[in-house]
Subunit: 182 residues, 2 copies
């Protein structure tokens, strides 16, 4: 159920909201029938890393829904009060107990159907064994290219990021991509 | 007043919320005392353009708060259901009635103190006169480098984007920046 289906009440005064287009606006918003505050809804930023140790890539097997049991790169919602770089490093620590260095912007993906913007970084682990599964992770493991579980990846944005990384690594030139997943 | 100060009630059921750390989480959230739903708050994405016509840059003088009367690049909150590129082009149309071409990712800025992430593009106008002030703009104008109103710019992120653009234009090589404004 999308978040928008849940907005029934004003979170400032508790009165019911009405779906209407405010003056000067061009979109329907949830507007409080009493205090008039608008309950805006906007896309969320998901930030994450593609952490490597030499030629191997760190993936995490998800312990939580959605896509429990499938493999992903460490990533999660950016929190208030933090930078994107910090958010991506924090998620890598939370999901894979891994510190990262050489964090470099790698790709931005719009996912308008689920109102998310992914911002992904390349990064390096600090050691071959410097990671372990976090609370939301069943298993964390380094994968050679030939070992990547393509059929068991959790999200399309993760597959695209991995495919591009492996392709660009061969070419020797990494770019910053901006793509849409529609 | 930050948004967080406004969250008093659950927007699903209208009951009061409590500030507490949910199980498995490590941050205080607003949790509904009745239905248990968490009212998450996350940073918002602001997307915008640096539109040029030949060597001149398009700026807009703001007709609305904050920073009414000061100059800015066209930018605004990314909406649900749209890509970042579309959001930046839409804001340029809304604020400057300008169509853009050759839209290219140019910079990502974290503003953690106000919970925003700016994603800025370079772009070209379709003609020397193909723009005009939109409803939220007092005046739209093309500026030569020597004419830019540095003392009357609305936001620091705009100043930094303009400074970098002018510097990189001289060097002939544009990059994609990731920066924090703390």
């Amino acid at each position: 159920m999308p978040d928008s289906d849940r907005i029934q009440y004003c979170n400032h005064c508790g009165e019911q909201v009405l779906l209407q287009t405010p003056p000067g606006d061009n979109r329907n918003r949830h507007v409080c029938a009493r205090c008039g505050r608008i309950q805006y809804q906007n896309p969320k930023v998901v930030c994450g890393c593609l952490p490597v140790w030499q030629e191997r890539i760190l993936l995490c097997r998800r312990a939580i829904e959605p896509r429990k049991g499938l493999w992903t790169l460490p990533a999660g919602f950016l929190e208030n009060d933090e930078t994107i770089q910090h958010g991506a490093a924090r998620e890598t620590m939370e999901e894979a107990c891994a510190e990262i260095v050489k964090q470099t912007l790698y790709g931005i993906y719009s996912l308008p159907q689920i109102n998310q913007v992914y911002i992904m970084f390349r990064a390096e682990l600090t050691g071959e064994n410097n990671f372990s599964p976090g609370a939301e992770t069943l298993e964390a493991r380094l994968f050679q290219e030939s070992e990547i579980p393509w059929q068991e990846l959790a999200f399309r944005v993760i597959r695209l990021t991995l495919q591009r990384y492996l392709s660009e690594r061969k070419s020797g030139a990494f770019t910053v991509a901006i793509n849409n997943i529609l």
